[in-house]
Symmetry: C2
Amino acid sequence: MKRINFAIGVHNHQPVGNFDHVFEEAYQKAYLPFLKVHEKYPQIKLAQHYTGILFEWIEKQHPEFIPRLRKMVVRGQVEMMTGGFYEPILITIPDEDKLGQIQALSKYVKQKTSYHATGIWLAERVWEPDLPGPLNRAGIQYSVIDDAHFKYAGLREPQLLGYYITEHQGALLKIFPISEKLRYSMPFRPPEDTIEYLRSIASEDGARLAVFADDGEKFGVWPHTYEQCYENGWLENFFRLLVENADWINIITFSEALQQLPPIGRVYLPTASYREMMEWAMPAQTIHKYEDFDKWLKDNHMPAENRVFVRGGFWRNFLAKYPESNHLHKRMLRGSARLQKLMKGNSDRSLQKARNHVYAAQCNCPYWHGVFGGLYLPNLRFPIYNNLIQADVVMDKIERTANEKKNGWVHAGSMDFDSDAYEELIVESDRMNLFFAPQSGGALFELDYKPRAINLLDTMTRREEGYHRKLRQAIADKDHPAAAVEVASIHDIVVMKEDNLDQYLHFDWYRRSSLIDHFLHPYVTLDAFQKAEYGEQGDFVNQPYQVGTAKKGRAMVVSLKRDGHVWIGDRFVPIRMRKDVTIHPKKDVIEVQYTIVNLDNREAELWFGSESAFALMAGDAPDRYYFSKQAKIKDTRLASLGTLENIQHIGLCDEWLGLKIDLEWDKPAGLWRFPIETVSMSEAGFERVYQCSILMPHWRITLKANKEWKTNLRFLFGKC
Amino acid sequence: MKRINFAIGVHNHQPVGNFDHVFEEAYQKAYLPFLKVHEKYPQIKLAQHYTGILFEWIEKQHPEFIPRLRKMVVRGQVEMMTGGFYEPILITIPDEDKLGQIQALSKYVKQKTSYHATGIWLAERVWEPDLPGPLNRAGIQYSVIDDAHFKYAGLREPQLLGYYITEHQGALLKIFPISEKLRYSMPFRPPEDTIEYLRSIASEDGARLAVFADDGEKFGVWPHTYEQCYENGWLENFFRLLVENADWINIITFSEALQQLPPIGRVYLPTASYREMMEWAMPAQTIHKYEDFDKWLKDNHMPAENRVFVRGGFWRNFLAKYPESNHLHKRMLRGSARLQKLMKGNSDRSLQKARNHVYAAQCNCPYWHGVFGGLYLPNLRFPIYNNLIQADVVMDKIERTANEKKNGWVHAGSMDFDSDAYEELIVESDRMNLFFAPQSGGALFELDYKPRAINLLDTMTRREEGYHRKLRQAIADKDHPAAAVEVASIHDIVVMKEDNLDQYLHFDWYRRSSLIDHFLHPYVTLDAFQKAEYGEQGDFVNQPYQVGTAKKGRAMVVSLKRDGHVWIGDRFVPIRMRKDVTIHPKKDVIEVQYTIVNLDNREAELWFGSESAFALMAGDAPDRYYFSKQAKIKDTRLASLGTLENIQHIGLCDEWLGLKIDLEWDKPAGLWRFPIETVSMSEAGFERVYQCSILMPHWRITLKANKEWKTNLRFLFGKC
């Protein structure tokens, strides 16, 4: 009789910052019902991975779940896997943090389930070939990885029924290839199909091993799967069939497989993740090329086995594709490095708290974007900055002298913060962190307000995405369905959460941030400006500024200066721009003095605007709104668009955060305000996401030859 | 007028262990004439990389070359690049060694040319994304890498005219994409073609940069290129044309480009090398699939731009494809680790010498195989083991006590030496190192003879290669040309260095080594045996043995034991095999006692043979030969094949090494001897390469039920 070994792994995860109701729904629709069915089948052994984030949530909200799980672990029915506590993509974080994150989850798992986990769930299965080094140091013996990775190394389907050894300079790791076939059949096709597939690969010697491992959310949370798994009884039927066929299907855990089966051989996996992610990591235009090639291959009936030779990019290029992702990443590294340095020979216990914040800021979900929200979701980005700023506050306290604590402090330093080969300027006070990009418009691109631990410039810039083409086509076709069609094709569905989303497809030519200096063509309208389809007459927006810093009393003054030009008619008029930004210790205010000098020997008519962005996470929440001391604002939602004339103040209030921001200036100005909204893919379809509000006071200035014009802006932060 | 920047880089290298005449030919045909032409064109600036190996050879053989080069460096005509001194593939060696190798070459370059090199030539352009970390630590600012790597990251042709930044966790590196177009046109197409190509990509702003960088051997050593470059004057014409077009072609060094041009952007390169190497790294069968797919794409007229989505494997899989490569690699890591440990807090100056040996053993060429000999060439593998054993000898001296030095020493330890998840046993004495594989036949797979610093088991096993299909086809076609056809298609030529090479295509089912225990079918012939197409009746060859060690006086006894089976007719007879290997300190002898026990209750007729391999590097050299005290040997070449009957001794003599090996045993036996010869690709075509001589004394034994049979073998090593 032909027999086969079969190992099952389930990975359960919710990102830091996900809404409580999302956790709860996943618990009620997937984690809990899965456990309930599983409890009934003691013969079914499988591996479970819960991220630390999810574990802590369950422990708090449904503490009764843990002992039930533990019971199954103790009786050998569940093998626990470990991972990074906050589910970081391991290759993105320093080796010390890899170790710390894994140790943290392993310790937690041991405490709660008494299992000593030696298998690791690799977040998003992002692999680089030196990973066995740090994993080995963390006591890891095995991992489970997509079979695609193995095929990229040259192995073929029949060679993937077992496990392999890989290593980095002698540090060993055993790796199980996850069957893509099983990933697509479970739970989407009838349980009998999986049994039949297992039968087709069973062998006389019974030495082969089939591996399924995938997201636990597939069993209840993904569209239609709750109905499939529990109402239609897929999971119960599947387990029952496995038990009925126990004479030839040998259910086995990964650890048992390591004990009972020899490795098939040696393999080295290239930089890879699952196939779709490798596509997403490429630039939008290249994704089009790739999709076109894919279609060409299908049209020409490519033999399926060649699919493995066709490949996209790899994870790290999300950092190149999205400056915001790179920004998150380098900000996280900065926090981690500061902490590492501080922890050397310092036993202050609050550093443990800071470390936990840094680890929490390593949760992978907002660092990238595919068909799930990720980077485009403000509620996932928010906790990254929030945790990093909280870590900073803890470290500030440790690093400061008594005198500094009393009088406050402010410090400025230049460094290539984001690894772009240009130096940025970072000003830190005990109230705020300000990150300036002298190389690019002298803009302020991160503004951390420490009392609320928020980066007020945590916004996305609008960019063309590979899938926008699909959106436009679907709208052009007019006959797109209003709802998802098939459970299995989650990656291909074109569903829109609202009509006419193509109207929001505007793309920015510079990164959205603050203190961006515009000179507009006389006929520019707010509509054209907000669509980024207008005439920019100056060369200041994203061009280099000189930068200097000076102490003024206890305050720090950052001076940003550029001798540039503005097109006036057919003249390219030399204009000097200077902005002096003053940051006080212990004060929640930023003062900006603008000085514009006409370096020409003729009079110049200028239309100058200073653009700033405020990212308060929700455009339509009633507790977040605009207000003005001087004007009546019709629509006060942060996602609203409007103009005001002849004012000197605008305010933003976020009652949820308890934060009020006043923006005021000394020369009456017009004001444009509009939201930046992105159109991105999510599990539920294409959706519009509010990223930030743009405010631009603007002045029409007539400047005589060699004359200067000045205005003072102030940003004030306080309680709402 | 449209203008363009143009940067040129030339990489010159010869592997450790290459024949002196090969160095000399390359010098006379490429390095020297290139310099001579270059000297005449002071306007032409370019980057030069010489590996340390080549530099030292030149310094010794043609010391007048160095000051000429230095002169060109000093007048700014040549920019020197650095690299690993012995041209290791950096990703294969420990980070400490990366640093040391680079520092060693940089120091040498500085001394000889007074240039402080900050650009690195990356051996074989093998890239992994964490490389910027160690490169940054070594003070490297830039490298040049195939444009293919960049395309794999999603960039397209027009985006590759300049340089990019990449980084690993904040450690920055600037990378120039090498134009594949230029690699294929220089020097193979008329110089005008390159000028025309440059014209086609020149732009009004003159900000673009075209990069050529490739092997210096292309300019004189590769087939037909000496004629092309110097007799036909390609190089001179090319330089002249560049000078004539200096108004729009701006010759620039890499360092100048970094000063004068901004980076185009950010990119992260996946695990990659040049396209061909990624194919070679795959298993033979997968190469066939890949080639078939390639043909399918061509037949279906795939749009060329899609080529970048089609990819093979990556470098590390050479370690999976060739156990011999993995062996070299882990042996090198062992040497490096031993050294690192010893250097901590030990200032013995001889450690510098040991370190140099370890570095020399990291030269990449024998670690892999494509269309150039590499791993298949004994003269390239020899210096790896030679250097590692010399390093061991130095370290032995440091580690041993006075008493051990006087009386000799021997030590045994088990460890997973080759990272295959099984433990090997390593026995070290002051005379020899013996590496046993209990898991696989209890075989002896490395035998280092320290007085001559040679691994006598440095052989290849015969395996099917992807290109053997091509060889068979060409022979089947009968009309294959006798010589190369076209200069440009070096990768596609089917040239054979001798006729009927397909007759040598036999493939081994076990790894060739020593003390391999065979039980043969009564009708097996030497011919069938040497072709590995015979009936093996036992299950001892590559199956697990138990292993134990014991001291016996000052000697070490390794006992290898297996209860296995031998097919006799239709019976699978239980047989116990035991081999006790005795290693003495201070003695150049290995004693092996075989004990074979018939565990059955019936008499057994057995034909037992003990196979051993001796790799003395040359099968046809007159100074390396067989001899026997008891029999007249007809053909004494090590590559000869033959049988002897009823003898108790055979000897091998290597006058070149001054090494004699006697193999003797106490029970008269038949002896089979034959060479292992591989058929591999080389620059000059398919060639047969002698790898080792196999010796197998064999006995026909009638063993009564529960009786045992014994014989004693001795391997003696001495002067020839």
